[in-house]
Symmetry: C2
Subunit: 301 residues, 2 copies
DNA sequence: GACATTCTCTGACCTTAGTCAGCAAAGTGC
DNA sequence: GCACTTTGCTGACTAAGGTCAGAGAATGTC
């Protein structure tokens, strides 16, 4: 990580907060204080529970209450008790509130347009592409990979998506209970470990490891949500799983996969995995890989 | 300007303000209020005049005065009258102030590092490159091209840099008073017009137009500061000059340039200028161009 | 039914950020 | 020497953003 990189990021920050940040906030403010505007926005067209707003914006209960009163006094929202739990209050936009939210929306669009306006068509495309890169790479940086019990709801959600995707992309039909399985007890300590990747608290990927006493460790059920692909997240997750296998005492890890998962195949090959003859009878697999787990040096987290 | 572009920018804003903006400001804040921290930073290692601080940060005189008092009370700065003008006060960092400024610096670096840390080396390079693109394109968007009198200090500065650069890059030696000149009265209404491009109030480029009653208009002294190149600014400036010639009644514009100005040659060619036989005896020129000024449609500003 | 917990609201309070009008000292132009 | 401008300081004021403690109602738990 060179000084030049750090310097570039700091310059970027300065320019962006000047041009985007300053605008985004104060611009959005319209006639209304920023806090109220953000709250109005966050309530959304379908309304929100007050406690949800509080946690999403990270604000004090008293403060939110006051902001809501002020919005209510301005005739922009209505507050009502929730049907299920009458302590919980739900904020809903009135017609005027919806109009104002739309205005905020348009302001935001205007801001975006004002950034593009002075540029030529080619420059616009370059700007948008670069912004997309920055956005995705920053997002990739916030993704957190945590050890989770394989029966935890988040793990189950990911596994479900994994199976669904395989069945969607393959003509063969995949049954996770047949062949080389990854049953909960097989990927739970001490037999193994299961990981879930989170972005903003949402599960967006998973993977498991099965330790074995004498034969190589197995990596199983590695999956990344479609909308999170192309971030290099797969590589990060795979490294985590290899680490786990290594820590479990394995010198070699194995993985098998279907031919339809082309991204996975490319990833394994580029990450130093070597294709080997089939080492199990997993009916769904078309490719089998092995990797010698060398001692890692100076790993990035 | 498509909706997809606008949408991408808004997503970018959200991610960046969350990850960079929020951090940059509040992170920088340390234990000190943001205003004081920014001021402390801006004073710099060599000290600054108070009036300069005020204009750079765009703050009220009274407010700055109060902030400085607070920093002085904390033992971070010393205030003294300027030697030349005893109304003007100069703020200088004490040893403690320098320490604190260094700490702010390190915080900023830390933030930058924390963005890079989770990424692989390749991803880091992509992130930094994309940030550089975004930064440059945003900067390009804020550049303002104004009509300025050719004897104005900013115009003179640009012209001086232009001449200096030609003499630096060419072996021939360039004398602006010989050959096809651009004397002040020739590029000032009604005979012509002169433009200066500004970034943050600093002149970073220029160009002039000489109108003629019967022969084509001439574009003269077009220059972009080296640090502002590669932004597509040249194209914007050139379009402005063409517009000016067109508004002045010309159907055709001419421009001559030296072979050493390779960027300029490439720009003219790609902007629809056609190389023609020499139309004057400018001793410094190697290439002569003409362009038919069509009526413009839906121009970007 | 007693008790704890959850959720919202209220009043009191604080800091930060910033504006405005006016003043005094110093410098500038004639 | 006089009028005017620049520069910085001060006091009074405002708005926004936010924290904290506690009250009161609804709900959950034993």
């Amino acid at each position: 990580m060179s000084d030049a990189m750090v310097e570039q990021i700091r310059r970027f920050n300065r320019v962006v907060t000047e041009r985007v940040g300053a605008l985004d906030d104060r611009f959005l403010g319209l006639e209304r204080p920023l806090g109220e505007a953000r709250l109005l926005w966050e309530i959304g067209l379908d309304g929100s529970e007050v406690r949800v707003l509080r946690s999403r914006l990270g604000l004090d209960s008293g403060y939110v209450s006051r902001l809501l009163r002020s919005l209510q006094a301005a005739g922009l929202i209505k507050l009502a008790a929730s049907g299920r739990d009458r302590r919980v209050r739900v904020a809903r936009l009135t017609a005027a509130g919806r109009r104002e939210r739309l205005a905020l929306d348009q302001r935001s669009d205007e801001l975006a347009r004002s950034l593009l306006a002075p540029l030529s068509q080619r420059q616009r495309q370059r700007l948008v592409a670069a912004m997309r890169d920055v956005e995705r790479l920053l997002l990739c940086g916030i993704v957190e990979i945590r050890v989770v019990d394989p029966e935890h709801a988040d793990a189950q959600y990911c596994l479900g998506e994994y199976v669904a995707e395989l069945n969607r992309r393959s003509t063969r039909g995949f049954d996770p209970s047949v062949g080389a399985t990854a049953l909960p007890h097989e990927v739970r300590p001490p037999a193994g470990q299961f990981f879930v990747a989170y972005l903003h608290g949402e599960p967006i990927g998973c993977g498991g490891v099965k330790h074995h006493a004498d034969t190589p460790s197995e990596i199983k059920r590695m999956w990344i949500a479609p909308q999170a692909r192309g971030l290099g997240l797969g590589r990060r997750l795979l490294e985590k799983l290899e680490d786990c296998a290594r820590t479990g005492g394995a010198r070699v890890a194995r993985i098998e996969t279907s031919a339809v998962l082309t991204e996975a195949l490319a990833l394994y090959r580029s990450a130093g995995w070597v294709e080997v003859p089939p080492f199990n009878e997993e009916p769904f697999a078309d490719h089998w890989f092995e990797k010698v787990l060398s001692i890692r040096t100076a790993a990035a987290t």
